[in-house]
């Protein structure tokens, strides 16, 4: 079995395991390359169907291309799309210009997500995070329990042996499940190429610039690049050494912003 097929099978096994365990489950779709790949894998796991809701956390600061792509494929793939916004904070003017990045991400993303989980009572949440994205994400388990305050207890994570994932204990409110944790950025692009997965054009070079990682428009910087198709992106990554999230503002504020955000329940 080749490398990409092995990665795909591991992901499908995890997705099906999570669906069996919780049934009342949802996946987070940021419309970026990783969660769109996850969505593709979910469709493969269930023979073309997506048997649970797909959540888009909308900070209102996303790129217009992302909203367009979301609506087009939600329709094409027949998704049960839930859009989550922290309306109170959006109206109060919370944004990247106000307070710290940590406050903004926490209010507009984490707290918006908390409300959706509480309202729908989801017991499992599929997320497209990867170990090679960030040192903190490298420490994650595939099935990661969260308590009622959504806290990630990174100092005392459960044992996770082979493909046996922790059962639900009394104090577990819900589980974050990470089916593509084992894929690297390069794996993702090679898989996108092999499967011909559609993506927003933000990743492709326009006048010498492209986005390598996307989120909220004010907090993402494009990189210098002439890669205007998936093959050229793969070639660029194979010869590059810069890290993927170098253009993401939230990681730069403090060495431990990601750790703090994640311990509060951030994706």
């Amino acid at each position: 079995m080749d490398h990409l097929t092995a990665l795909e099978n591991k992901s499908i096994f995890i997705i099906r395991e999570a669906y069996y365990r919780f049934r009342n489950i949802a996946m987070l779709w940021s419309v970026g390359k990783d969660s769109t790949t996850l969505l593709w894998l979910v469709r493969k796991a269930f023979f073309g169907e997506v048997p649970f809701p797909v959540i888009h956390i909308d900070t209102t600061y996303k790129f217009p291309e992302m909203y367009r792509f979301r609506d087009e494929y939600a329709k094409k793939w027949g998704l049960n799309l839930i859009v989550g916004r922290n309306e109170g904070q959006v109206e109060a003017g919370m944004g990247p210009g106000k307070g710290t990045k940590l406050d903004c991400c926490n209010e507009l993303k984490t707290n918006a997500l908390k409300r959706i989980i509480e309202k729908n009572g989801f017991k499992g949440l599929l997320l497209g995070i990867r170990r090679d994205e960030h040192g903190i994400r490298a420490k994650e388990r595939v099935f990661s329990p969260r308590d009622e305050n959504f806290k990630w207890d990174y100092e005392d994570q459960p044992a996770e042996l082979w493909d046996q994932y922790k059962s639900t204990a009394a104090e577990d409110n819900h589980f974050r499940v990470h089916p593509i944790l084992h894929m690297t950025e390069l794996d993702i692009w090679k898989y996108i190429k092999r499967e011909n997965i559609p993506l927003t054009e933000l990743y492709l070079s326009k006048s010498g610039k492209r986005y390598r990682s996307i989120g909220c428009a004010p907090c993402c910087s494009p990189i210098d690049s002439n890669a205007s198709n998936v093959d050229e992106i793969i070639a660029e990554l194979e010869s590059s050494h810069t890290s993927e999230r170098a253009g993401r503002a939230q990681d730069k504020e403090d060495a431990y912003t990601m750790q703090k955000l994640r311990s509060l329940g951030y994706m």
């Binding site: 099906r16 023979f47 490298a138 420490k139 204990a169 060495a255």
Partner: protein, 406 residues
Amino acid sequence: MEDRSLHIVIVGSVDHGKSTLIGRLFFDSGSLPPEKLEEIKRVCAELGRPLEFAYVMDNLEEERTRGITIDIAHTFFTTTKRKYVIIDAPGHKEFLKNMISGSSQAEAAILLVETTRGIQEQTLRHCYILSLLGIKQVAVTVNKMDLAGYSEAAFLDLKKKIEEVTAKYGITPSYIIPISAMEGENVAKRSEKLSWYKGPTVLEALDSFEAMRIEEKGARFPVQDIYEIAGKKIVAGRIEAGTLREGQELWVLPGKTKAKVACIKKYLEPDLNEARVGECVGLVLDGADVKRGDILSESLAPSITTTVHANIFWMIDKDYRLGIPLTFKCATQEARGKIERIRRRFDPASESDAVTDADKISQAEVAEVDITLSAEVAIEKFSDIPELGRFVLEHEGHPVAGGIII
């Protein structure tokens, strides 16, 4: 270049330099992104420390301020030969469950022993865990050779002790390599200071390891779930051994009924008439009704039983006492049960003899036990079909032990 990546776990006692070795490996082979190096330099300057290679792996604030590894981290690394997933395991006894979690994903290991401190309790424990988990490819590195003046005599002395201990615990090291992770001697580059050593560097040792070979065996398919799609019942699961073919007759275990593969399904692959080990597929079956936890098997080779004889390793800090209820999880099977008899228990790190017919098992101890279950399961020896020969025990939803069927 090989296509598949090899998973390597780095183990050994606390402060013997595991995280530093990995950081060095990344740095010397040019695999460290420049901003990551900048971030590490900045954090080290803030903490008033010299450049700390361990911070490549130790990313939690608590790990850096306390100078320890708390949890495993997986990182990715490529040589001209192949891709690697490097798993850094913590060395403290209290984090043993994390070390075991990391090792359970590995095909090969590097065991570190520090020159001046020598073999410690955790060295022995980790060594035994590797052996239990069936990890056969192990390179031992003797680290901090700079502290021993790069002395060959000091190395040979420790090498002899390492050979004795590993032999006792059933491991034959592929190499024993003198290194200094801090100074980068024999990590990615051959050391001039250790010129008396003629074997491979750490990097060369990694490249000499082989990917686990998949042997051709009879088909085994643990049922993961049942879906109803377009009016058809689809039995989902992953093939854990052998090959499935359309028209094949299979036993449904533990009930010993029979079913026939009418159709093998994968999305966007309509003409599939065969699927192999490792593939996640859907089956349309004729014959017996199946449910999650059933094992579809080509033969009646698996044992159908309510008693499991196994070696287990106890991972949590609370003792087990005979009779405490547990949940047994093996492949997709789950059954309630308890340990009926503790034939012998011992601490791999201790000189004391094993206790026979014991009534408790404590943290970090290993035990040979008989587990009784409230329902039949289909199991095999770990050495025959790994997926049906290993299991996890849980108590009230928490994993407490791992086990290998003997």
